[in-house]
Amino acid sequence: MYVIETKDLSKVYDNGAVPVHAVNGVDLNIEDDEFTAIVGPSGSGKTTLLNMVGGLDSPTAGTIVVNGKDLSRMRENELINFRLNHIGFVFQSYNLIPVLTAKENTEFIMLLQKRPKKERDARVLSLLKEVGLSDKINKKPSELSGGQQQRVAVARALAAKPDFVLADEPTANLDSKSATNLLNIMARLNKEEGTTFIFSTHDQRVIDRARRVITLEDGKIVKDITQN
């Protein structure tokens, strides 16, 4: 069974005179443990596809099945709950809660899941150690570098024990060293813990590290390659 399975997935924006097909009949299957990059020029539909797969946007046509659940049939509250328990997000601009420390940011999602304190504490410390931020647990985002903030974002995304992590251009705002560091962490988590990562990216470093690269153009998959 696939983790993600889309069939004839389309998204049409009908705001202007001419309807825009952001995603156009995409059939996509993602398996467990994948480390996949979705690439393509600006406007090719990468982010829209990722948003739909993440349950943040609804398709105009087609279906998205995540771990056997059809997202297109879910109501808004069900979707929120589904995202909380099954999908991890890493955003381009880190998007941590500015008033919380690294530890609290990581813990926050587990609080939403109503996990017990003991479990939360243990997992937060373990995750922050995994991403190399053991010494920064009490720092707020404003006291961390961009790379460190993005590593907290990765820890937060993993804290909920999601089925997969969607990362929308995670290295776009990072310097070379931080980007490489982050990619190393995510690749290790994928390899050692079997976490599924799906990136949308322009970054060649991410593309080079991905085992599968899906290329989109005009909302359609034009290339889908597996690389070593």
Binding site: T47, N51, G54, L56, D57, E76, N77, I80, N81, R83, L84, N85, F89, F91, Q92, S93, N95, I97, P98, V99, L100, E104, E107, F108, I109, L111, L112, Q113, R156, A160, D168
Partner: protein, 405 residues
Amino acid sequence: MLIKISWRNIWRHKLRSAVVITAIALGLWAGVFIMGFYFGIIEQKINDVVRSEVSHIQIHHPDYKKEDFNINYFIPDGLTISEDLSVDTLVQYTSGRVISMGMIGSAKANSGVRIIGIDPEVEALLTGIDNKVIEGAFFKGVKRNAILVGQKLATKLNIKVRSKVVLTFQHINGEITAAAFRVAGIFKTLNTTYDESNVYVNNKEFRKLVGENITYHEIAILLKEHEYVDTAAEKYKGLYPGLLVEDWLEIVPLMRYMTDMMDQVMLIFMLIIMLALMFGIVNTMLMAVLERTRELGMLMAIGMNKFRLFNMILLETLILAMVGGLIGLILGYITIEYYAVKGIDVGIFSAAYESVGFSTKVFPQLEARYYIQTALQVVILSIFASLYPGRKALKLKPVEAIRKI
């Protein structure tokens, strides 16, 4: 965690939050203080009316008031009743009065007055009128037919201590009688209207002039405790079914209206303050929501449901309002307690205050229930103030926020 986030969010913009908290604190401080000020005035007025004018309970002949204070309607067995009451366990003091409507004349002018015949010693204990004598002495220094007049009346008649005045009144047999009196003292109460329209004479002397068989037209009773009023009134109504027994609120119903009205006026006054503050809070919270669109969208994206999101906005509003409200209430309490001892001199408005019987020194006071009521109003205000910003937050689509990322 929500409380922690809400609290920290408030202090993200320290100056903005401080301005709103200060506005709430000042608004409530002013509101609570003004409530205390006006309730102080009312309480003093009630105390003054009870202590100096009407006492707790009065007894009259049932037709005395109906017949326009006709001198013929005195209390049968008034002397006995007054004596019996004076030893009642609930009673502090009683005073029997012989009262007639009449005219007072000096060489300069005449004026209509209520002539109150009193036993000076007893009346002094009951109303403390002896302490209000500002010139001359309380029924001393004049051998016969001594009279006490109010300061305003003395000015009007151009008389002073030891001046001679003529009282004209009706005898019980219907004849108009006149008698000369000499001013023993001039009194001044908090109520200039009262001072202008009442004079005191000795009831033993006055009884000889209006009719020897008159006992008392009025028996005023001061109880040992204000709280005894209802019990005592009920008791005396049962003991003297043939007489008119009234408590102070029945005698001066205006006092009841005044307290009831003040409750309503203060409620409206506080609601207006709250409404003004609410718009300030709504504005601040709306800014807080609009500038955090991305953050709120992200929270929804990672799995924060709408109920929790709204709760977060509500908590922020509540904390903001409660911090300001608490400071305002504490400041209000301190100010009221300080001036409750020291008093506020409103002497600059003395003429206006005294003409309607209010003291020129106000001692503010406010019952605990008004503080609680105000605190509850702040909570309700916060809930209402959070509705619009909260709705704005709930209408956010996470994907739109994500697109901005």
